[in-house]
Symmetry: C2
Subunit: 301 residues, 2 copies
């Protein structure tokens, strides 16, 4: 049976904002998340419990989650780096937590300050404590195609990390091309290896558009059976360690792609633009997604 439904998971408030220099107030973050909640999204990663020393932009994680007006059909998720982060997160209500690590040693060391094998027990502790609290855990694997330190990453190396996360009990793995170097043939090679062992519903794809290939990579992933995709409204974000500093693929552009391909995202294009314009006004910089450019040119015509 084939389905026409695809699922977009919004990571803008967390993965997007965490790299933005202009501080967004807690009130504005909440308003932003509430605007996203009106778009039809059923999954929003709203903040991070990484220590505020590392991500000052998201130091107000508890305040955001305490004051958010929630909709019951939406999963509000937060990122946690370790058991201390999880303990902070458990002070407030969250629906799901995400953990993260990299497929490459270089990026993992730089981002987490641990080797890959030393990271596994840290994450296992989180997954077990989350289970005791009836919380599902999503796992991000970064640098699944290329690493800014180690260069190309082999599918087998990604499989090695995926195996460990699935053994721990992670319920979905988001495969991130963190520096956006991948092209569809890379995605094909990676997914061929992973889908030989695991069913496609275990994976989400998380693309950055540094080299302009994110949409093409989404199409290839979809052709290979993947139905869940991370994206960021307004293309917010980007990796501070990556050349080009290009952001996540934009939710509104992914929505256009899927809709034109006859897929159902459940999202409302007009509401997506409203959320994008809102955060653009708060960031005080122009966001350059295709849908925003088209919308602006319509206003000017």
């Amino acid at each position: 049976m084939t389905t026409n439904k695809v699922r977009i998971k919004e990571v803008g408030p967390r993965d997007g904002l965490q790299n933005e220099k202009n501080y967004i107030s807690t009130t504005d973050k909440i308003a932003f998340i509430e605007k996203l909640s009106e778009t039809g999204l059923d999954y929003i990663e709203v903040t991070s419990f990484v220590h505020p020393k590392w991500i000052p932009q998201l130091a107000d994680a508890v305040d955001v989650l305490c004051n958010l007006k929630r909709r019951k059909e939406i999963t509000y998720a937060a990122l946690v780096p370790n058991i201390k982060g999880l303990e902070r997160a458990l002070q407030v209500h969250i629906d799901e937590v995400s953990i993260f690590m990299s497929a490459s040693e270089g990026h993992n060391l730089s981002n987490i300050n641990k080797t890959i094998s030393d990271t596994f027990p840290v994450l296992k502790e989180v997954v077990e404590e989350a289970r005791l609290n009836n919380l599902a855990v999503r796992g991000y694997v970064s640098t699944v195609i290329g690493c800014p330190y180690d260069g190309p990453v082999k599918p087998e190396q990604v499989l090695y990390v995926v195996d460990h996360l699935i053994d721990m009990g992670v319920k979905e793995i988001s495969l991130g091309d963190t520096i956006g170097v991948g092209v569809p043939t890379d995605i094909e090679r990676l997914l061929e290896v992973l889908l030989k062992k695991y069913p496609p519903y275990l994976f989400a794809m998380h693309f950055h558009d540094t080299y302009g290939t994110a949409i093409a990579n989404i199409v290839k992933s979809l052709e290979m059976g993947i139905l869940t995709f991370d994206s960021s409204i307004g293309g917010l974000g980007g990796c501070p360690y990556a050349k080009g500093a290009s952001g996540n693929v934009a939710t509104e552009d992914v929505h256009y792609l899927f809709t034109k391909m006859g897929k159902q995202t459940g999202l409302n294009a007009k509401k997506l633009l409203e959320a994008a314009y809102f955060i653009e006004s708060k960031l005080g910089k122009t966001l350059n997604t295709k849908q925003l450019a088209i919308s602006r040119s319509e206003v000017n015509h």
Copy 2:
């Protein structure tokens, strides 16, 4: 037999510049084309013999072609709208001419001021006169996916126009998604119809990136056997009648894609950037291709 070679045909000096408001001097146009000639390109569409009333930017077509330093391995082509345009073009040396029309009535009427059936004899006259002068003719078919006036365009309608152009003796047809609305499933449906009747080497694909899908569409076309692609350095251009006003897919970004996919373009990435920076400085506006953004961020790091 599969080949690793793909061919990029550069349309920046013509399709790119024709929509730019800032006038580029003849000297600068020539310098631009000469910079492009150093990149490894073997095909450059350098100008247009459309009446200067319609495209004042390219009124200096004769001067450009007379003063250009040529390389014998490069095909220098020019666009001609009708027999009058061809007669002007024949005053100077050119290697190939291009003709153009649309797959949709609405765009053809707006762009050429004729119906599709009234356009055929006009183009036939050009092809026959070109043949007498030993000039090959390339045919552009615009709006092959969607039309700003008529909406979606059926593959059968494109086939109808392609049939006529091939009957005339056009040696290659460039299929243009002029307003950039296409997604890979559209490209697949179109090429399935055309490739049932004709071999892939008769076609080139010409994508605009209005909705961010150009690279994905190139990948799909390549998967279906197409090996020739039009692009524009710096993403120059765009259709003045199209929403979003986004330009042609950028040569340097297409080069990245193909190279990373293991294909050989024969192009030099550094020289491509030099040509892009050159025309950017002359246009006095920032060109936003991915490769330019990456290059700028490397300088700033």
